[in-house]
């Protein structure tokens, strides 16, 4: 096996204990709830008979370890239990909700990268007006809270100008145009902040690379500046940029909770929050586990991409 392939396999193996630990933590959540979880879940319907029935249903009278193993083996088969209230399988709920969150994440990150990286490169390569403008953009993007921006956008586009809907969702396969109309404002709200981060990271990394000796030598060779910047500098500056993009991707997957709530997008984040409010722990467990695993996978893929970009990684673990 080539050194690169070995590196990939090794990282995959390293992710497994993390996922296992994650599953344990998520599993324990339901049992860390103070008081009797079943009573909390049932609320006012908590008659002793109901409590006993539900306990049996959820298998809560078995020892902890066997509960965990049952849950995990179920999860490995895609069975995360049932929504306690509606009796819909959690896996069905997740399958419905995950595409929404993924679409939101993909669109936001794409927009953020398309804006942030080129602007960051130009800000690093040229001083002057471009730099000042990007400085303001970075400051605004970092300081402004994404959901507040979302609300302001709603005020503008839905309230005053009335060109976009303030909330709601239509699946893409059902009606692409409408889907994009509903996604426009949440994507903008998220992408603004993300783009600022990506811009700042790009600018910083590019500045550092453009100051190196090899860039000086490239210029001394008479290579065109365009080529120096894009073919050489950007390639070398890529690792930290890709890392930040990867992190932001993972964060969005799990954390666009507020934006989803704000715009009434039926995504995984919103599902988890409403389930928490309903004390619907089974759903929370499944949702958190899936998101956590996705996050770990995204981190892994990012690491692999960064490793691929730097030829020095082949010679053992240079990262």
């Amino acid at each position: 096996m080539s050194p690169r392939a070995r590196y990939v396999v090794r990282r995959l193996f390293q992710a497994i204990p993390v996922i296992i630990a994650m599953s344990i933590f998520v599993f324990l959540m339901i049992h860390l709830v103070p008081g009797d979880p079943v009573q909390t879940m049932l609320g006012f319907r908590a008659t002793p008979e109901n409590v006993a029935t539900v306990r049996a249903q959820l298998g809560l009278d078995h020892p902890l370890l066997s509960q965990y193993l049952t849950w995990v083996s179920g999860a490995l088969h895609g069975n995360f239990g049932q929504d306690f209230i509606s009796h819909v399988p959690v896996s069905t709920l997740l399958a419905q909700r995950l595409p929404v969150t993924i679409e939101l994440t993909l669109l936001s990150m794409t927009l953020a990268v398309l804006v942030g990286v080129p602007l960051g490169v130009r800000a690093a390569a040229k001083a002057g007006a471009v730099r000042q403008a990007t400085e303001g953009f970075v400051i605004a993007g970092i300081a402004i809270t994404d959901f507040w921006l979302g609300i302001m956008l709603v005020l503008l586009f839905a309230g005053i100008w009335q060109v976009l809907p303030p909330s709601g969702y239509v699946p893409f396969l059902q009606d692409p145009a409408q889907n994009l109309r509903y996604m426009a404002l949440p994507v903008l709200a998220l992408a603004f902040g993300e783009a600022a981060y990506i811009l700042r990271t790009t600018r910083g990394a590019m500045e550092e690379v453009l100051g190196t000796h090899y860039v000086l030598f490239l210029r001394a060779k008479g290579v065109r500046e365009r080529r120096v910047v894009y073919r050489h500098a950007l390639r070398n500056a890529a690792p930290p940029i890709v890392t930040v993009i990867g992190i932001q991707f993972g964060v969005l997957l799990g954390g666009a909770i507020v934006i989803e709530s704000l715009f009434a997008l039926p995504g995984v984040g919103r599902l988890i929050v409403t389930s928490i409010q309903q004390r619907n722990y089974v759903v929370v467990q499944g949702g958190v586990l899936v998101v956590a695993i996705l996050f770990i996978l995204v981190t892994l893929v990012t690491d692999l991409i960064v490793g691929w970009l730097d030829p020095r990684t082949e010679e053992g673990d240079a990262t």
Binding site: I142, M152, I160, G254, I257, A292
Partner: protein, 289 residues
């Protein structure tokens, strides 16, 4: 007094002050934060109205002399509300970061200094926590324990502690490889003494920078949690819960939504500026993010 701190000009306090005043950004950040802190402390004196006083005659009035930031759906003065809400938000932000700092820094120091299995034992669980998206973790914690501003503070502290521990560990690793540490060991100085007098003052710089910046973001996280109803509970208001209130009257009275948001933005900005200013002095190699 440790070598590097002496080289920096004597007492740690001198390093601190020179760090803040050294750059324009740092000065601005410090100035704005001082003003903001004073506002938070003296909110009761500065507020022209009782923030919870309902007045049916003053419903949804635009900003005016009587109500500098306008009034909300219950006739309450938005300016006064922002002042008091700011207090709450800032307390949560500063408190949570401080707790994370006080717990995370020693952990990172020990992990970095001792290395080996101590390092693994401390950092493995910390890396696990870092493997979870922050908001999700906070929400999950609140799900277990229940909502409230103290829980929100705890949740943010839990998110921040691993970050600070990591930063300190990185800079500790650098410090520990320096020869003056070897020299201290060779003199037979006790470990506790080495860490306290030599490692800590030199490794703590990046953590201070990171903590400063994190404090700014903590306000945003608190706002997000309270916005969802998971943070402060009525009748207490924080900037986040005000943002939730403002939504209901968004088109009729945008000022209810605008001003709390601006307060958050200015605070994040100020903390970021201060952190950037400090970075030049305390974290030249950019260990913090």
């Amino acid at each position: 007094m440790s070598v590097a701190v002496v080289a920096a000009g004597g007492k740690p306090r001198a390093v601190w002050r020179r760090g803040i005043l050294a750059s324009r950004k740092g000065r601005w950040g410090f100035a704005i934060l001082t003003v903001l802190a004073l506002i938070a402390i003296f909110a009761p004196l500065l507020a022209p109205h009782d923030p919870n006083a309902i007045d049916a005659t003053q419903i949804l009035h635009a900003p005016s002399l009587a109500h500098r930031f306008g009034s909300d759906a219950l006739g309450r003065d938005v300016f006064s509300r922002v002042l008091f809400a700011y207090r709450v938000s800032l307390t949560v932000a500063v408190g949570s970061t401080l707790v994370a700092f006080l717990v995370g820094v020693p952990l990172g120091l020990y992990a970095g200094y001792h290395g080996g299995w101590v390092d693994t034992a401390i950092m493995r669980p910390i890396d696990m926590v870092l493997a979870l998206p922050a908001m999700l973790l906070a929400v999950a914690l609140i799900a277990i324990i229940g909502p409230g501003s103290n829980i929100a503070t705890l949740a943010i502290a839990v998110i921040y502690m691993p970050i600070l521990a990591r930063v300190v560990r990185s800079s500790t690793l650098v410090v520990v490889s320096q020869t003056y540490i070897e020299a201290a060991r060779a003199r037979g100085t006790r470990t506790r003494s080495i860490i306290a007098r030599h490692v800590l003052p030199n490794a703590i710089g990046p953590a201070i920078v990171q903590a400063t910046i994190l404090m700014g973001f903590a306000i945003q996280i608190e706002a997000a949690l309270s916005f969802l109803g998971l943070g402060v509970q009525p009748p207490t208001s924080s900037l986040g819960s005000m943002l939730a209130d403002g939504r209901d009257v968004l088109t009729q009275a945008p000022w209810v939504e605008v001003f709390p948001g601006l307060a958050i933005a200015i605070t994040v900005l100020a903390f970021n500026f201060l952190g950037d200013g400090l970075r030049a002095r305390l974290d030249p190699k950019g260990v913090s993010e």
